[in-house]
């Protein structure tokens, strides 16, 4: 299965966020909110680091 870097990032973040949400919180609503926050943090930080590294020549 050949997928792009970004797709791999999204899949990884999604699956990890779901598990983190289920394990960390006690109510379904809290789990969903926390999972969404973790997913957003994964993707956001990855994009941010990508842009920070963009000017680096190597």
């Amino acid at each position: 299965m050949v997928i792009s870097h970004f797709t791999a990032l999204l899949l990884f973040a999604l699956l990890v966020s779901v598990v983190f949400g289920v394990l960390s919180k006690d109510t379904p609503r809290d789990r969903a909110i926390y999972g969404a926050k973790v997913f957003g943090a994964f993707v956001g930080v990855a994009l941010l680091l990508g842009w920070i590294m963009y000017p680096v020549p190597w």
Partner: protein, 138 residues
């Protein structure tokens, strides 16, 4: 007939609890989510099972590498233990013909990361089942 003392009753209950705890932990390790299922948290069990196994299957589809116990580097040996944390999925994949990935495949590095991450997530799942079994979490 001698009556059971309170201490004997407590000791027997403690033995039963240890037995249950061991069964839950082993089950949680072998199949992701099974520990939660045994503790009657069926919704969580299903979500954990689907998520962790999906991550493992995606790792296999991306030709992720199976590490070996006796490797040239300590990191690769640690990677083996990380992948084994997912339970019977890794031996089952080998049994059904997965040769351990192709390190030269374009997405192999991502696949390996998915495989190890699936094991690590299952390790967290085992610890969560332990806490639930001890009554520390709902």
């Amino acid at each position: 007939m001698a009556k059971r003392t309170a201490a004997e009753a407590v000791a027997e209950k403690s033995d039963v609890q240890v037995g249950l705890l061991v069964r839950v932990l082993v089950a949680a390790w072998l199949i992701p989510g099974l520990g939660h299922f045994l503790l009657r948290r069926k919704g969580r069990a299903l979500i954990l099972f689907v998520s962790i196994l999906s991550m493992f299957v995606l790792g296999v589809l991306m030709q992720g590498e199976f590490f070996a116990l006796h490797s040239a580097s300590y990191l690769r040996t640690l990677g083996f233990f990380g992948e084994m944390c997912v339970g019977v999925a890794m031996p089952a994949a080998r049994f059904f013909g997965y040769a351990g990935g192709d390190p030269y495949f374009v997405t192999s590095d991502y696949g390996t990361a998915f495989l190890v991450a699936a094991g690590m997530l299952n390790a967290l799942t085992v610890l969560d089942a332990y806490d639930i079994a001890l009554g520390r979490k709902p």
